[in-house]
């Protein structure tokens, strides 16, 4: 969670300059972490395969800053940013990517199954839309017990074509559970562009909320302040008893679907333009008018943390092979 000191309430509020710098630092940390992960993966140090969310940092930071520690999230296969923003220390995430006991899922999960229940991360899910129904159930439990907590599902535009999404939206609205459905709309279902998987314009995907009579809140997913304020409003609505919210955030994936994806399906000009105009970190840097020196010093600080996370991970403990059988049953 980022260091936003004042939560300015829903609608029209602004985040303090200090708060915005906090966002910048966290987004930069997520970016540098993911770049490092790519680098270490290409160097052959990380098993499995990886998805990074470069370009989508403002969604993770803005949404999670609006949540309390006892609120819960379910993430996706593109989970590093959400997990960092919800409060898991980066060295525990890095250790997980190295398959170590010290990892946030103790080496059982990997990049696509980052869990940290203590900070409310109920797990990243490698099945598109697979985590959404569980969030309805978590929200139902909060509602039944009268707890002031929200449950938040992250998913992309691709997930909105899955049956689990529709069943979950319907049930959540029917029972008015305190859930927030964060539609992280990057316009891509893996390699398939929105125009090939959506029968409506990509920017209008939020309309799907209307079919369920669900409250729709939309914001520019590249503007962390807008995301944060929208998420605060969503949380307030969800807790009011009025029902869940579809929080539609238009964002941009400035990288391939997976690390190593040659993106043969993507127009190079479009990608270049998106990188030049949609990078949420560059946009925020310009807005904060950070000098080169300020940026360099912040970057050095963040990089030191990232490097330390790699050292921590590499020095971690390998699980014993037979540990595989330890957590099959409670």
């Amino acid at each position: 969670m980022t260091a936003v000191e004042e939560k300015s309430g829903s609608g029209g509020g602004r985040v303090s300059k200090e708060g915005m710098r906090g966002f910048f630092r966290e987004m930069l940390l997520i970016r540098r972490f993911e770049e490092k992960v790519e680098e270490r993966f290409r160097a052959g140090e990380l098993p499995g395969f990886l998805h990074v969310a470069i370009g989508q940092e403002a969604v993770a930071s803005g949404v999670c800053a609006a949540l309390e520690r006892e609120d819960v999230i379910a993430s996706t296969h593109r989970a590093h940013g959400h997990s960092i923003a919800k409060g898991t220390p980066i060295e525990r995430i890095m250790a997980e990517l190295y398959g170590k006991v010290e990892g946030c899922s103790h080496g059982y999960g990997g990049s696509m199954h980052l869990y940290d229940v203590e900070v409310g991360n109920l797990g990243a899910n490698a099945v598109v839309a697979g985590g959404i129904p569980g969030i309805v159930g978590a929200a139902l439990a909060f509602q039944m017990r009268g707890e002031k907590r929200v449950a938040v599902a992250f998913f992309g535009d691709g997930a909105t074509n899955a049956g689990t999404f529709h069943e979950s939206m319907n049930l959540a609205q029917l029972w008015k559970v305190p859930a927030i459905f964060v539609l992280e709309n990057n316009g891509w279902a893996e390699s398939t562009p929105a125009k090939q998987h959506l029968p409506l314009p990509v920017d209008e995907l939020g309309k799907r909320a209307l079919a369920y009579g669900m409250k729709l809140i939309e914001a520019d997913g590249q503007d962390v302040e807008a995301v944060y304020l929208a998420a605060l409003a969503a949380r307030e609505h969800a807790l009011s008893g009025a029902g869940p919210v579809l929080l539609h955030l238009r964002t941009y994936r400035l990288v391939g679907h997976y690390v190593g994806d040659p993106q043969v399906y993507r127009d190079k000009k479009e990608l270049k333009e998106a990188k030049a105009t949609k990078d949420p970190i560059e946009l925020l840097r310009a807005r904060l008018e950070l000098s080169d020196d300020e940026l360099a010093s912040l970057d050095a600080e963040v990089m030191a943390e990232v490097e330390a996370s790699v050292e921590f991970a590499k020095a971690g403990t390998d699980p014993k092979p037979e540990d595989a059988l330890a957590n099959v049953y409670a």
Partner: protein, 326 residues
């Protein structure tokens, strides 16, 4: 000892758990005012109210998935999937989510969810309302699988399933709902993973589940007239399996028949046969016989249905085949 039907026994376990524990609640299609398509949950809405007896949309993924989410938050949901054929709609949530959260999280979460469902042929429902799919779930690490065959068992096992900290797929057999049986005054939990020896014998062991337990008992009585002494064992929990009881029985009788209503190929009998031959190879005097449905989707016309689904005579024939071997 009071007598309850199998249906009443399920309801009794549910009501007691609902009464004693605020964390227990029910979700499913038509379970509230209608009382469930098998009338199992009749009356529960009146006693426990709509917050705890929750009618759902026809959304099997969301029913199971929201049950998972609530269970991880410490509730003990009991969800009903009206027919086990419809479990297929919730497979992703059951197999990828419920079964795997604990392992994928490195032991951080528990999923104390019970998924009740029912199925079974004998009333011409056709191909999509009576399949027996229990063996599919035995293949999934992280799930537990129960299939109860008597009122006493269904009550004690359901209680244990609700209070187990793992996802339990709980199979009931449709044709057994009216079956009456004595149950103890007080509900006695029956531990998961414990088989029941229904009848002792010395010539052949029939390991049977669901309706076939009763068919096996009938076949055993008939076999006795021919001087064949049959032991009937019901595993009751298919996962985890009480291998010890089953293997001890086969080592005593030296012959074994497996019997279930599901199709033979890839059925639970195949797993039983593999476990038994490995543990008791030197004790076996005959190949293990497997009784189950013929390999066809369940046809509608009663004459064809009857032909596909195993009957008492099929168990009896299998018993005689094993005993005929020297």
């Amino acid at each position: 000892m009071p007598e309850l039907t199998y249906r009443e026994a399920v309801r009794d376990a549910l009501s007691r758990a609902l009464r004693e524990d605020e964390d227990v609640f029910l979700m499913g299609e038509d379970i509230a005012e209608m009382g469930g398509s098998m009338a199992v949950t009749q009356g529960l809405l009146d006693e426990f109210g709509p917050k705890r007896i929750r009618n759902t949309p026809i959304s099997e993924m969301a029913i199971v998935g929201s049950g998972i989410g609530a269970a991880i938050q410490g509730m003990r949901p009991v969800v009903e999937i009206m027919y086990e054929d419809f479990l297929t709609l919730s497979m992703e949530q059951l197999v990828n989510q419920a079964a795997k959260h604990r392992s994928m999280s490195g032991g951080q979460v528990k999923v104390p969810l019970t998924i009740r469902t029912q199925g079974g042929a004998g009333w011409s429902p056709g191909a999509q309302h009576a399949q027996q799919l229990e063996s599919w779930f035995v293949h999934v690490p992280g799930l537990k699988v129960v299939f109860a065959s008597t009122p006493e068992d269904v009550r004690g096992l359901l209680w244990s399933a609700i209070y187990d900290d793992n996802p339990v797929v709980f199979f009931e057999h449709r044709t057994l709902y009216p079956l009456k049986g004595e149950v103890p005054d007080e509900l006695e939990p029956i531990p998961l993973g414990k088989a029941r020896v229904h009848r002792e014998g010395k010539d052949v062991t029939v390991v049977a589940t669901g309706r076939l337990v009763h068919d096996a008992l009938s076949a055993a009585e008939q076999a006795e007239k021919d001087g064949i002494s049959v032991e009937v064992v019901d595993p009751r929990t298919l996962l985890p399996l009480d291998e010890e009881t089953i293997i001890a029985s086969v080592k005593k009788t030296n012959r074994c028949v497996t019997a279930h209503e599901a199709v033979v190929r890839g059925g639970f009998g195949a797993e039983l046969a593999a476990v038994i031959q490995h543990a008791a190879f030197d004790w076996l005097d005959a190949p293990i016989e497997r009784v189950g449905s013929r390999f066809a989707p369940l046809p509608f016309a009663p004459v064809m249905e009857q032909y596909v689904v195993p009957q008492v005579e099929d168990v009896l024939d299998a018993i005689k085949r094993t005993v005929a071997r020297a």
